[in-house]
């Protein structure tokens, strides 16, 4: 799909020419979406509002570099997810906890993830498991993470992702497949680090 000749592209060009009203339109159009993506990752209203402000500031200052190779939504989505991960990384650094460190407790939680979702376990258990999923996603490249989130969390089809990113469907499938495998490997490393869980080992009967 050509992203250069759409109403959205015309709006972007106005923002690139520093039309404040056009930027306001973008904010109004995308703020709920941006907030919902951030809230989906951080689960905290105050943080989500702060990050959303940062995201729109970044959009404002970076939109001159928007090159119409993807849809505006894809570009905004990428900025939003990256901003969330920068925030999580800084927060972790402040706590002197590094992304590469998975505790045994993490491994135990991972072991129970699927059953927790299926059985609707306590909210705090699910939140802890969400944190773990986010931690594993942090192991992927920005592009891999974005594709998986857009596919599984946002629910976009391969066809939609292809249109949004300007990449053909087969390439999207290959990229998704590789991203899924990398995520599996990250979980398996966690398993090995976590000792007894045997996570990811089909013979152990433990499902990711």
């Amino acid at each position: 799909m050509d992203h250069r000749n759409t109403d959205e592209a015309a709006l972007v060009r106005r923002v690139q020419a520093r039309d404040e009203m056009a930027f306001r339109e973008i904010v109004e159009h995308y703020q709920a979406k941006v907030f919902s993506i951030i809230y989906g990752i951080l689960r905290n209203h105050n943080d989500a509002e702060d990050i959303a402000q940062q995201v729109f500031a970044k959009i404002y200052f970076s939109i001159k570099n928007f090159d119409f190779r993807s849809s505006l939504l894809t570009w905004i989505y990428k900025i939003t997810v990256n901003e969330c991960y920068d925030y999580l990384r800084k927060k972790r650094v402040r706590k002197l906890v590094y992304e590469s460190d998975f505790s045994e407790e993490d491994a135990q939680r991972m072991q129970n993830t699927e059953s927790a979702i299926e059985q609707g376990l306590a909210v705090d258990t699910q939140l802890a498991q969400r944190d773990l999923v986010l931690k594993l996603l942090a192991k992927l490249s920005k592009e891999d993470r974005m594709l998986l989130l857009m596919k599984e969390v946002e629910g976009h089809s391969v066809e939609e992702l292809s249109r949004m990113t300007g990449t053909n469907e087969n390439t999207i499938k290959v990229k998704l497949f590789r991203a899924r495998q990398k995520l599996l490997k990250a979980a398996q490393r966690l398993n090995r680090g976590g000792g007894q869980s045997g996570l990811g080992g089909a013979q152990s009967g433990i499902r990711l």
Binding site: Q31, A32, F35, S36, Y39, G40, I41, R43, H45, A48, E49, A52, T113, E114, I117, V123, Q126, L127, Q129, R130, V133, L134, L148, L149, K151, E152, V153, G155, S157, V158, K173, L176, F177, R180, L183, L184, A187, G200, A202, R207, L208
Partner: protein, 66 residues
């Protein structure tokens, strides 16, 4: 993972393929234990990725005046 499963993977994980997978996909899955195992892991993985969609508490709306 082998080609017939790779090709049908996204449709399968989306649920669109349940009961209507391409014949090659089902035939390979029945014959290849390693693909079946990996597929099971990837299905579980998709499930926990989708757990990020759920909103266990609070709402995802910005406050008025945001």
């Amino acid at each position: 993972m082998h080609q017939p499963i790779k090709e049908g993977l996204e449709e399968y994980l989306r649920g669109a393929g349940k009961g209507t997978n391409p014949r090659e996909f089902d035939a390979h899955l029945a014959a290849c234990q390693s693909c079946a195992q990996e597929l099971r892991l990837l299905e579980a993985q998709a499930l926990w990725l989708r757990s990020l969609q759920d909103s266990p508490a609070d709402s995802a709306e910005p406050r008025p005046g945001f």
